[in-house]
């Protein structure tokens, strides 16, 4: 797991990397291509020099790396505050999944980015430090380490990192690629809710935002979904997320608008169902009932969404003012849904 005793660390790492480089010479496939033909629109040199530095306590590269990344994007955090969230004392290290969860619990959206050197460079060029997992040892004698990439220099052929006890590490591109490749090229960026990663794909971003909603303040979750929707306006999940987060934040009108837009665009049962609930709470019963009927009609007969849709329709009918004639013809739960 990540981290070593600080004293022996550097020598060991140098030794390990040297052996690894010999053993795996020629395996750095991305570096030569990248240097031969640098991707368009990428600056020759980037250094996020304002990124703070937290010298790593023994074994605690996880909390240190996460605190570095969070503090750099305006979420001031001390490594000590993260230890209880991401550090596993018995294993003297931090799990990847908990690094992501720890970032979320600190108010950041943590998104895994593509495993390419170019993606890491593009993130830093956009001002986003990248937390990377490295295997500084060998595949059969691993020594795991979290570090933060804060830039690169294409002319010098190096990445710049805040890494363990080293404040400014210059690591040759190919060395970085080797150590990163042996950790399955895993990297993520942690950003405030109003900022999206430069390179992350829709699926990863959606996963990150849905996970963020779970623990975030509703208002921040809504902010994050708004940013996501601006980039991927065709996503039903993001549209529903915006509605749900707005609703949780008490913004009924915002929720209504989001669900109405989602319902119109995707004609989805979940959107109609939630729209109906919000309309009912806004006192617009007739519209609420029309939406609920559509939800039931599109939800099919089985599954949680169909159950919710039927429950919503029942609730709206139950909330009806005493009507002159009996309206509810099918009060039993077993009855099939009324056709729209």
């Amino acid at each position: 797991m990540p981290g070593f005793g600080a004293a022996s660390r550097r020598r060991f790492v140098l030794g390990g990397v040297a052996v690894a480089a010999l053993a795996l010479a020629g395996c750095a496939v991305q570096t030569p291509r990248l240097l031969a033909a640098p991707p368009q629109g990428l600056p020759r040199r980037v250094e996020l020099s304002a990124t703070p530095f937290f010298p790593q306590e023994e074994y605690q590269c996880g909390p240190a790396a996460l605190a570095t990344a969070l503090s750099a994007v305006g979420l001031p955090t001390r490594p000590e505050a993260l230890t209880g969230k991401v550090f596993l004392p018995g294993r003297e290290g931090s799990l990847q999944i908990e690094m992501l969860a720890g970032a979320r619990r600190s108010g950041a959206v943590a998104t895994v980015i593509p495993g390419t050197l170019e993606a890491v460079m593009r993130e830093t060029a956009a001002g986003n430090p990248v937390v990377v997992l490295q295997n500084l040892g060998l595949s059969w004698a691993p020594s795991w380490h979290y570090a933060v990439v804060i830039g690169y220099d294409l002319d010098a052929g190096v990445f710049l990192l805040r890494s363990g006890p080293i404040e400014r590490q210059e690591l040759p591109l190919s060395t970085f690629e080797h150590t990163w490749d042996r950790a399955q090229r895993w990297a993520f960026v942690a950003l405030p809710p109003d900022r999206l990663p430069e390179t992350a794909a829709e699926a990863e971003t959606t996963r990150a935002l849905v996970a963020f909603e779970r623990t975030a303040l509703p208002r921040q979750a809504a902010q994050a979904y708004t940013a996501g929707l601006a980039r991927w306006p065709g996503s039903l999940t993001l549209a529903m997320g915006l509605g749900n987060a707005s609703y949780a934040a008490g913004d009924l009108e915002g929720a209504r608008r989001a669900f109405a837009a989602a319902a119109q665009r995707h004609d989805a049962a979940a959107a109609y169902n939630n729209l109906a609930t919000v309309l009912l709470e806004l006192g617009r019963r007739a519209e609420a009932r029309a939406a609920a009927v559509k939800a039931v009609g599109r939800a099919g007969t089985e599954g949680a969404i169909a159950d919710s849709a039927r429950a919503t329709l029942r609730r709206i009918d139950d909330a009806a003012p005493p009507a002159p004639r009996r309206q509810r013809r099918r009060p039993t739960a077993a009855a099939p849904p009324a056709s729209p």
Binding site: L95, R104, P142, W186, E204, V210, E213, Y247, A304
Partner: protein, 131 residues
């Protein structure tokens, strides 16, 4: 205190087994995670609840202590997992050989996750980026 916890978890189990009843009364909103997973395979039961239930076992707690974790910390960590992540963990427990369930929980939660990260196994898809 322990008795109280047992009682509480028993109550929770009862209340969660009556999910459809609860839903017909108040669960009117469809959550984002539900939408995100609409296409995904439905896992039996609530994964978070099941992971939390596992934590209530004394053998599990003793093992947690050995790893330097308190029960509260473990619960917080479970709460921070998404439904999708928790479902993967629960599935691993379900797939474990019978009789070794307690060990399997820990094996799953710590060791497999760890060996995955160490690259020795490839159990969890979410321990690396998905392309």
């Amino acid at each position: 205190m322990k008795k109280f916890k047992r009682l509480l978890s028993a109550l929770l189990i009862v209340s969660f087994s009556g999910v459809s009843m609860v839903q017909s009364v108040q669960a009117a909103m469809v959550s984002t995670e539900q939408v995100a997973q609409a296409a995904a395979v439905q896992q039996a039961g609530d994964s978070h609840e099941r992971l939390n239930d596992m934590l209530a076992r004394t053998e599990v707690q003793a093992e947690l202590q050995r790893y330097g974790l308190t029960e509260d910390q473990a619960r917080e960590r479970i709460a921070a997992l998404t439904d999708e992540e928790a479902a993967v963990l629960v599935k691993q427990v379900d797939d474990a050989p019978a009789g070794g369930i307690i060990g399997a929980i820990l094996l799953v939660f710590f060791v497999l996750l760890l060996t995955d990260i160490l690259g020795l196994t490839k159990v969890f898809p979410f321990t690396r980026s998905i392309r």
